[in-house]
Amino acid sequence: MRDQDYTLSELMSIVASRMLTNDDVCFVGIGLPSEAANLARLTHAPDIKLIYESGTLVTRPDVLPLSIGDGELSDTALSVVSVPEMFRYWLQGGKIKVGFLGAAQIDKFANLNTTSIGDYKSPKVRLPGAGGAPEIASHAAKVFITLKHSTKAFVEKLDFITSVGFLEGGDSRDKLNLPGSGPQMVITDLGILEPDPITKELVLTHVHPGVTVEQIKEATGWNLLVADSVKRTEPPTDKELEVLRDIKLRTKIANSGAAK
């Protein structure tokens, strides 16, 4: 591993941001997806339309929101609609091209859990729950997922399916007749996984600079399939790093202020 002037967390956000294009209409989850989506907007996709479930259509936040309903989102939005309208007309109505989700856990078919770990009624860990994720996962035309790699997060079987990926693989998602085509890519801090076109099982297709395939397999809670020719992820450009660090710094300064 050579010396890097960036962290894997930074790389993850930068790689995730590259998945988005200037023409996308993206329903953005809070946290990592929000960082990636805004980075895309501030670099290669200036006209991308970012939608947050709090009701803000086409927002251009100057700092990253701490919550999904920060004033920064409504102040910079083209339109603010009610939450029912957001879920009924815009998401369920098929107006969203990309859903960008994080998760606490993922399985080999890209199903996600953000609800609870262990038995639902007496959980080991009670997580926040669904929010908008289940219908983002089913209704956005396509879905990207970003989360950090670990055996705790990448598990053989989920205790609870909050948001459906490819269910049990093969054509099992198709049989649900969902409007969206499902997860296209899972971007982690170590590499990129993509569903096999037939089995829909996640396959490692890209390894980030300085990371080994073995390292990723060890951080995955199932026997991870590896593509025949695994590619090396392009390292961050200076511009990408600069813009990411700028917005994170602005965010830190803004969030450290108190009321008034």
């Binding site: 809070i30 946290g31 479930e53 709090s54 009701g55 803000t56 929101p65 701490l66 919550s67 999904i68 309903g69 920060d70 004033g71 989102l73 409504s74 102040d75 603010v80 009610s82 939450v83 029912p84 957001m86 879920f87 009924r88 998401l91 369920q92 199903n111 609800t115 639902y120 007496s122 959980p123 009670r126 926040p128 729950g129 669904a130 929010g131 908008g132 994720a133 289940p134 219908e135 089913s138 209704h139 609870f160 399916i161 909050t162 948001s163 459906v164 269910l167 998602r173 649900l176 007749n177 969902l178 409007p179 969030n255 450290s256 202020g257 108190a258 009321a259 008034k260």
Partner: protein, 284 residues
């Protein structure tokens, strides 16, 4: 018709033990002052309904006011867990709490159905997820025209909905602006509605933006400046992210939480005094 009341009077008049309450607000305009007044009055046995329960529900649960929570995302946004909720649910401290859990889309639809006088809502959702297994208020329903299988969600009709808004006029017509979440639906779905506002003014209208909710669907309006703190009221004050971060430490330990609630909530006589004390101790 709407009465202009003091907050403690409105809570005393309309919030009864054992009722189902929705204190709605989607990050913005959360009716925190009203929640604290419920704690001060020691009203127990409540079912707490909200799409995004955060600090105020953590406080109500930690103080033993709640028997049940109905929600679709429960956390301290951008910070982490609600420790009082988690300890109640995982360890029954201070008491058992039942949960009824939804996704946002379903819960928003449930309020819409409630506001629309319908017993259920139809949505295309939840397919492939575990939710139908754990929530009996989710069923399948078939389109009578196309045969398509869809999801039915039972309507939500709170006994009392409480929201915070920026302004009301003297007749109790309420004006709010910015992120409006599901507040209008929560009011229209409820049997009784209380609205706290930043200020009561001579006149409200929609001519320059915002939404007016007319007075005849609102039972009480209470003027409570800073009443959404630590949430925000667009045009009045910003979200106090520091307090959300501080809450993580205050709430993590049950004893520390109890001390804090005693000192700041139970031993202050109203929200104004609570807020002043927070300012003095650099929380606000």
């Amino acid at each position: 018709m709407t009465e202009i009341l003091k907050l403690d009077e409105a809570i005393k008049k309309y919030v009864k033990p054992g009722e189902a309450l929705a204190l709605e607000g989607f990050t913005h305009l959360i009716p925190n002052a009203a929640g604290l007044e419920i704690i001060r009055q020691g009203i127990k046995g409540l079912t707490l309904i909200r799409m995004t329960p955060d600090l105020i529900y953590d406080q109500l649960i930690g103080m033993g006011c709640a028997d049940k929570m109905v929600f679709s995302w429960g956390g301290n946004p951008g910070v982490g867990s609600l420790h009082r909720f988690r300890e109640a649910y995982e360890k029954k401290i201070p008491k058992t709490i039942e949960i009824e859990e939804h996704a946002h889309a379903a819960m928003a639809n449930a309020y819409v159905a409630g506001a629309s006088g319908l017993p259920f809502a139809v949505m295309d959702g939840y397919k492939g997820t575990s939710y139908p297994e754990i929530n009996k208020n989710i069923k399948t329903i078939e389109c009578p025209f196309t045969g398509q299988e869809l999801t039915a969600i039972r309507a939500l009709n709170p006994d009392v909905t409480i929201v915070h808004a920026q302004r009301a006029d003297k007749e109790g017509n309420v004006w709010l602006d910015g992120i409006i979440g599901v507040q209008k639906e929560a009011i229209l779905a409820a049997k009784k509605a209380i609205v706290t506002v930043e200020e009561i003014v001579d006149h409200v209208d929609e001519k320059t933006g915002g939404t007016v909710i007319p007075n005849w669907v609102i039972d009480a309006v209470c003027e409570v400046p800073h009443g959404a703190f630590p949430s925000y009221a667009s045009g009045y004050y910003k979200r106090n992210n520091n307090f959300y971060l501080s809450w993580d430490a205050i709430s993590r330990d049950y004893a520390k939480f109890q001390d804090w609630m005693k000192e700041f909530v139970l031993e202050t006589k109203d929200f104004a005094e609570f807020y002043k004390k927070l300012e003095q101790e650099n929380y606000a």
